[in-house]
């Protein structure tokens, strides 16, 4: 289809209209996810709308990830209510400990090329790495989908982000995302889609693309979508039972903006408190004291992230005295892999606290809360004041390797310079 971005093509197909940027369309949703952070409200809305049966339960899944495990009676009751509803309606449910909904969506094949996938959580943009339109919605939207299977969407303009070259040693997907945040700003892609392209994609694993799609919402983007290639196909093999048709942008598609990032020119970066676009080099932030290191989340909680962190921790002889290391795998599958390959035992031997697979400390709803005056460096996507449950702590965001280097030194450091 000539002249259309990936996003316009998918939304045209799902709305049955010739959708162009700026149009408002009503689309059929292929796959939807809600969490314990959003579903309880959605159930209230659904019942208030007069909803009785979910229109197509097979397209819906609930994840108990924000309160995993529930730290209070009130949150335990939310879980009970979700389990009861899911059982009565035939909706699939990922229970406490299975992991972060976003990770489970991409692990389980509930997001696939060409699909319109939504999650009632802002980081649902993550699935765009799989060549689908994926966006975050609210509880009321989820209730409407439960009622009629559809959603209203304004078709976004797209920003074309071209990546060329190969990442240097010590520089990771997280650094690309932080470089983009620095370039666009925290609202630089508001109401817009980001479409990644370029020869630089060849060297990016699917896990790297998930990081970039995940962080696109931190620039305000509605979705962050990748083209389809052999890596996408490889990831989906054995994961999804849905037949799919990859979508590529038309040769003369119109873009609101073009951004080019030469991967070879990137250096390790860090986002300073309390904004994701307050980005500087690790070198400039070096020697900032760090008291807590958080490895996990839907951005940086996969096996590959933990392996990258462990390599630096090994090279540096483990965490410095007094640094609290918290490890929270994104899913049980990831945790099992780490257990099988020995990584988990190594983290434990290093004194790490191992959290239940889920959102953990990232949004301060459960897990380890940092104390006053504590500097945290995290593999997460957000560093708003108070994000981890204490507005008197400061959060720095960086790659898993950079977080590990900070653990070794007890201060922000370049992972390439960390040795015993």
């Amino acid at each position: 289809m000539a002249g259309k971005t990936i996003t316009e093509q998918i939304l045209s197909g799902k709305s049955g209209r010739n959708a162009k940027a700026g149009d408002v369309v009503v689309c059929t949703v292929d796959s939807a996810m809600g969490t314990d952070g959003s579903v309880p409200m959605a159930l209230d809305y659904f019942q208030a709308m007069g909803g009785t049966r979910v229109s197509d339960p097979s397209r819906l899944v609930f994840a108990l990830d924000h309160y995993a495990p529930p730290p209070t009676r009130a949150t335990a009751l939310l879980h009970q209510r979700m389990r009861d509803f899911a059982r009565d309606q035939g909706v699939a449910l990922w229970d406490t400990g299975e992991g972060i909904g976003h990770q489970l969506m991409v692990e389980s094949g509930r997001a696939w090329p060409g699909a319109l996938v939504v999650g009632a959580d802002s980081h649902a943009v993550t699935y765009g790495a799989l060549n689908c339109f994926a966006t975050g919605i609210g509880s009321s939207d989820l209730a409407a989908i439960m009622k009629c299977g559809r959603i209203w969407l304004r078709v976004p303009e797209s920003i074309r982000v071209e990546l060329t070259g190969v990442l240097p040693n010590g520089v990771y997907a997280k650094d690309i995302a932080l470089a983009l945040a620095r370039e666009l700003g925290a609202d630089g892609a508001a109401y817009q889609a980001i479409e990644f392209t370029g020869s630089g994609l060849d060297s990016l694993e699917l896990e790297d693309r998930l990081v970039l799609s995940n962080l696109s919402v931190e620039m305000g983007a509605k979705n962050g979508v990748f083209p389809f290639d052999a890596r996408t196909a490889g990831w989906l093999r054995g994961r999804t039972r849905n037949s799919y048709s990859p979508v590529s942008s038309g040769a003369d598609a119109r873009y609101a903006r073009h951004v080019h990032i030469a991967l070879d020119s990137l250096v390790p970066l860090v986002a300073l408190p309390h904004r994701v676009d307050r980005v500087t080099t690790l070198e400039d932030a070096a020697a900032t004291p760090v008291h807590m290191v958080y490895l996990g989340t839907c951005t940086g909680g996969r096996v590959r992230d933990f392996h990258q962190a462990l390599a630096v921790l090994h090279a540096g002889g483990g965490p410095a005295p007094g640094v609290q290391l918290v490890v929270t795998p994104a899913s049980r599958t990831e945790l099992e892999t780490l257990a099988r390959d020995g990584s988990l035992a190594e983290f434990i031997a290093m004194g790490a606290v191992i959290g239940t697979p889920g959102c953990g400390s990232c949004c301060g709803t459960c897990g380890t809360i940092p104390g006053d005056g504590v500097n945290v460096i995290s593999t997460a996507n957000r560093n708003f004041k108070g994000r981890m449950g204490n507005s008197h702590a400061a959060i720095y965001l960086a790659s898993p390797a950079a977080c590990a280097a900070a653990a070794v030194r007890g201060a922000i450091a370049d992972p390439r310079e960390v040795t015993p």
């Binding site: 609210g138 509880s139 609202d187």
Partner: protein, 166 residues
């Protein structure tokens, strides 16, 4: 939407949903009657005690960024605020506002100061304190239908599906 008038309560750029109401509070209750007491507690601890029904929220760019949590809209409505004016919104906050009948108005808010008296008629904003008129962006038809109905719940009480978009 019927016209409304009220006092401006002004915030800056990049006010994220956790600043509007923290996810920690959301853990305790989802009831707007409860959550309205904790509006903006991290960035403006005096706000909740001084907000009055009919007040209008005014913000800079990227209002409601971060988490898509809908309590950041329902808690505002719970305080009796029925419209938010901002230079721009995060898209999830914008959606959630429309879907709950909280009118989002995109306009140049730079000349509006705390306490100004504002009048709102559709997307047209009139600042009674300064005498200035500010044209806001009109809402597309389907969003106007939802916000005018009072949100998705009343919208769907009389429908089984969305109206088709012309």
């Amino acid at each position: 939407m019927s016209p409304m008038a009220g006092r401006a309560r002004v915030f800056g750029d990049d006010i994220n949903t956790d600043y509007i109401v923290t996810s920690r509070r959301k853990r305790e209750s989802l009831d707007p009657e409860y959550l309205r007491h904790y509006l903006f507690e991290e960035i403006d601890p005096a706000f909740a005690a001084t907000v009055a029904p009919g007040d209008l929220l005014v913000a800079g760019a990227n209002f409601g960024c971060g988490s898509a949590m809908e309590v950041a809209v329902t808690a505002v409505l719970g305080a009796g605020i029925h419209a938010v004016l901002a230079r721009s919104f995060s898209r999830t906050y914008y959606r959630n506002a429309v879907n709950n009948g909280l009118l989002p108005v995109v306009c140049d808010t730079s000349a509006i100061a705390e306490g100004h008296r504002l009048r709102l008629d559709g997307a047209l904003v009139y600042n009674e304190t300064t005498g200035e008129s500010l044209p806001g962006e009109p809402l597309p038809a389907i969003m106007l239908a939802i916000v005018s109905a009072g949100g998705l719940v009343p919208y769907f009480r009389t429908r089984t599906d969305f109206d088709s978009v012309s």
